[in-house]
Amino acid sequence: MNYIWNFEDVFNNWYALAIGAAGTVRLFVVCLVLGMGLGLIIALGKRSRNRPIRWLSTAFVEFFRNTPVLVQILWFYYALPIIVPIEIDPFLAAILGISLNSAAYSAEIFRGGIQSIEPGQWEAARAIGMNSVQTLYRVILPQAIRRIVPALTNRGVEIFKMTTLASVVAYVELLQQGKLIASLSFNPLEVYTVIAAIFLIILYPIVRLTYALERHLARSD
């Protein structure tokens, strides 16, 4: 138990961690935008009157929610290049796995939000002559999104945590750089403590903010 912690080697390698952090943020932003955007489209697909579209959207959501995201990333990395003639680098594999997985989860959040708006709103919008696309963009979505902001923020936090899985296919992000430093300086304890702390410092304020937002919405509704 008399281990003497020594963070010196970690801080001497701050530059490697900074490169990793940049990789993490890059992956996070791409997956956040793609995941949420696609999620909204799929949520609308699940409400479509067209049966094949509805069926496909449901199948997509069920499949991506009921398989582990790491399996998805590895599938896109090792298996997909065999059937499609494109080069899949670790960044692309991670984007595909994490974005599609997040799209399935956020689709359910969007669907819940849209469903929570009273049918009277649709009827009222139709009565004053809006078509369904206009109703959706002007009336339903602005109200629905306000209600689901906490759930979407939670999803964002999950996506940020999920980016560490990209290290499995050797994409350069925080954890991957941590592994590198740990193997060069033989200090896994300090390295992984610092990495955990970095995630905690970035995400904890956001999590607090979600709690506050939830309380605020609960009161105003």
């Binding site: 138990m1 281990y3 069920e62 499949f63 009921n66 398989t67 582990p68 995201v69 790491l70 399996v71 998805q72 590895l74 599938w75 090792y78 298996a79 065999i82 059937i83 936090v157 945590k161 999920m162 980016t163 560490t164 899985l165 290290s167 499995v168 954890l175 941590g178 592994k179 740990a182 896994p188 304890l189 300090e190 992984y192 403590t193 990495i195 955990a196 995630f199 905690l200 995400l203 904890y204 999590v207």
Partner: protein, 224 residues
């Protein structure tokens, strides 16, 4: 055009089955431990004693806001250095996922307990029950029914999270798949089959869960 050929994968089916068994063992261990850890953390957090609720809050928040893969590496590569013990992949993974899912379960338990009306506590006090009796006999049985859907969701999340142990070489389903893909040079078929195994088993569990939820709802004891 690529020609799919599942026969090498099916010939080695037993290899994947071993992995699937290990996945179930790890999920079961982490789940039963996680429920206990979660209940203890929830009680500690609800306690009025500061030396109990502050540390419980810290554990819950730290494990909820850091990535599980970082936690696993910390327990597997870091912890043995401080404790001077030998760490096996299974032990590291069970510990990590017990505490990690425990942190999430704790919040579910806490929300469930808090959701029970104050009147129930007061009524139990009035007929002379102590805090512990009231918690065990009155509050928890009602809270558990309300918590059931989120508990099932968390358990399924846990099963999916166990795939991370493949990175520290525990022979779970994903690890076995990786080995088999290298052995047979058929990554497409292997990973597709493994994705399907996860899909079918997880869909089955959520199907059972939703059936049970409906049963609770019908029995009238379930108030959302």
């Amino acid at each position: 055009m690529y020609e799919w050929d599942f026969s090498p994968v099916l010939a080695e089916g037993g290899f994947l089955l071993v992995g699937f068994r290990n996945t179930l063992i790890l999920t079961g261990t982490a789940l039963s431990g996680g429920l206990v850890v979660g209940l203890l953390l929830a009680f500690a957090r609800l306690s009025e004693k500061r030396w109990l609720n502050v540390p419980a809050g810290v554990v819950i928040e730290v494990f909820r806001t850091t990535p599980p893969l970082v936690q696993l590496f910390w327990f597997y590569f870091g912890l043995p250095i401080v404790l001077n013990v030998e760490m096996t992949p299974f032990l590291a993974a069970s510990l990590t996922f017990m505490i990690q899912s425990g942190a999430f379960f704790a919040e579910i338990f806490r929300a469930g307990i808090v959701s029970i009306e104050r009147g129930q506590w007061e009524a139990a006090h009035a007929i002379g029950m102590t805090y512990n009796q009231c918690m065990r006999r009155i509050v928890l049985p009602q809270a558990v029914k309300r918590m059931f859907p989120s508990m099932m969701e968390r358990s399924i999340e846990l099963m999916k999270t166990t795939t991370l142990v493949a990175t520290v070489s525990y022979a779970d389903l994903l690890f076995q798949a990786n080995e088999l893909a290298q052995k047979t040079f058929r990554p497409l078929e292997v990973f597709t089959v493994v994705a399907l195994i996860y899909f079918v088993s997880i869909s089955f569990i959520s199907f059972i869960a939703s059936r049970m939820e409906r049963r609770f709802a019908k029995s009238g004891e379930f108030t959302p």
